[in-house]
């Protein structure tokens, strides 16, 4: 079988494999989507006025969650509307000002913070299933399928010369 015929069949098989895998992956993605599957965003956390006193009395400020889940690449912006300066891990936020924290490594931070009774807040940075991950998934599914189709296409289907 001439070489370009083989190459044609291999390429066709790989394309078929990738297409089929794309179909399955995207279809199964419907079941597997989670709220964290989004591109990086800016997330604002507001520290309302009077939080400092509440914390002093050991009460929690309801609008501030104990744990926040982020996606790699997110930026956390803390707006301090309290009349007292606050700290969040490395961030120092004077009263009335705001500061931002870039979260670009997969990790779970336990930062001390002055606006929660436990003096601690959990920031969980997740690897999101972005489009790039789904493309990698299609590649991982498509290549083996393409390889199998290629073996059958090249060796299975006999080659009839155009002239016959």
């Amino acid at each position: 079988m001439p070489r370009n015929e083989i190459i044609k069949r291999i390429l066709l098989s790989l394309a078929a494999g990738l297409l089929l895998s794309a179909l399955i992956s995207e279809f199964s993605y419907i079941f597997l989507r989670t709220p964290q599957d989004r591109g990086p965003q800016q997330i604002v956390l507001v520290v309302p006025a009077g939080t400092a006193e509440r914390v002093a009395h050991g009460e929690a400020e309801p609008s501030i969650p104990a744990d926040m889940i982020f996606v790699v690449g997110d930026t956390l912006v803390v707006k301090n509307q309290d009349n007292v300066a606050h700290r969040l891990g490395p961030l120092f936020i004077p009263a009335g000002a705001e500061a931002s924290l870039k979260l670009d490594t997969i990790a779970s931070y336990a930062y001390e913070c002055t606006f929660r009774p436990g003096q601690y807040i959990g920031l969980d940075v997740r690897e999101a299933t972005t489009l790039r991950t789904r493309l990698v998934g299609i590649l991982f599914g498509g290549l083996p399928m393409g390889a199998l189709f290629a073996v059958y296409a090249v060796l299975g289907i006999p080659y009839k010369k155009k002239t016959e």
């Binding site: 419907i30 597997l32 709220p35 990790a107 779970s108 436990g118």
Partner: protein, 337 residues
């Protein structure tokens, strides 16, 4: 043609028989979580396919072994049949379709097991060489995992040393616990009872014994239990200065997996009679087990190693043991005569 019919009938009989046989053999442990029903549903689909495929291969095989045996003295070859492309194509395409169907079922089932309830309760799990400890949202820590029925809980798990794996057979779900990273374990227990979490990833010498109790109770019982624990923890915390009872709680949480307190020999030195005794070290020297020695053994485990043992593989400081807790531990060790 007759042969085909017989084989077809036999396959049609054997498949349901195998499936019923398998499903009546209670292959799986009791279903104690919402996720376990979903996983077992997928398992049953798998068993249906396995039963059919087993019959599809075994029946014609044994049929041939009986019916197409070589007659005595017949030295001629059998009928020259080289192949049949149409048949080959069919038994490539049909399995491919079956595979795609199972891919869909698998993805669907996986999606179902990962449905997240936004206000699930968060419990922090710390795994270390050969014990589990659970930190509840209400601020106390226990070596037992109490869970309320019908409420989803998310275990945020992290290891202090090697890879472990959190697995409760009755819940079906298993998730590795990694050092340096948090992994999630989402479960919704739906059957009251007491189970065991068993570490499923080889983590060294006492991997077999790395277990803890998992007790699923009603919402009310759970709230009552939490109230007692909070009260007990606060009472304990209120006692000033190094305290043996507090030390015992810390011992149970971090050290019980390796150190016995009743004098029995094991992987590591027993604490009974340790305080004030002279300890022989592996470089031949000996030292009196006073506060300083014990504090050093805890803070730099590899500094002085007891004769006949490997260095203590667990580093209490980076597992989160504070100085105050060390003082409590020493107080507790002093009581062990």
């Amino acid at each position: 043609m007759r042969h085909f019919v017989i084989v077809g009938v036999l396959v049609a009989i054997l498949t349901p028989l195998t499936y019923i046989g398998l499903s009546s053999a209670h292959m799986m442990p009791v279903e104690a979580s919402a996720q376990s029903q979903i996983v077992d549903q997928m398992w049953n689909w798998d068993m249906m396919a396995v039963s059919f495929l087993l019959a599809l291969i075994v029946v014609p095989m044994f049929y041939s072994l009986i019916v197409f045996r070589r007659k005595k003295g017949d030295t001629t070859d059998a009928e020259h049949v080289e192949g049949n492309t149409k048949l080959e194509v069919t038994w490539t395409i049909i399995p491919l379709i079956t595979v795609l169907v199972f891919a869909y079922l698998g993805a669907y089932t996986l999606g179902e097991t990962r449905i997240a309830d936004p206000n699930a309760m968060v419990i922090k799990v710390r795994a270390q060489q050969w014990s589990w400890s659970f930190e509840y949202p209400d601020g106390f820590t226990s070596t037992d995992l109490h869970l309320p029925k019908d409420q989803q809980v998310v275990l945020k798990m992290q290891s202090s040393d090697v890879i472990h794996s959190f697995w409760v057979p009755e819940f079906r779900i298993k998730q590795d616990v990694l050092p340096g990273r948090v992994t999630d374990y989402r479960i919704t227990p739906d059957m009251i009872g007491s189970y065991k979490v068993r570490c499923a990833e080889l983590c060294g010498t006492s991997h077999a014994y790395m277990e803890a109790n998992v007790i699923v109770t009603s919402q009310a019982d759970y709230k009552a239990w939490v109230a007692d624990q909070v009260a007990a923890a606060q009472a304990l915390a209120a006692i000033p200065g190094p305290n043996a009872a507090r030390g015992e709680k810390i011992y149970e949480q971090y050290c019980r997996a390796c150190h016995s307190i009743d004098g029995s020999k094991g992987q590591s030195p027993t604490w009974r009679g340790l305080y004030g005794s002279t300890v022989e070290l592996n470089d031949g020297s000996a030292v009196v087990a006073d506060d300083a020695y014990i504090t050093e053994s805890i803070k730099q485990p590899a500094a002085k190693v007891v004769k006949g043992f490997d260095a203590m593989g667990f580093n209490p400081v980076n597992a989160g043991v504070t100085d105050a807790q060390i003082a409590d531990l020493i107080a507790f060790i002093q009581t062990l005569k």
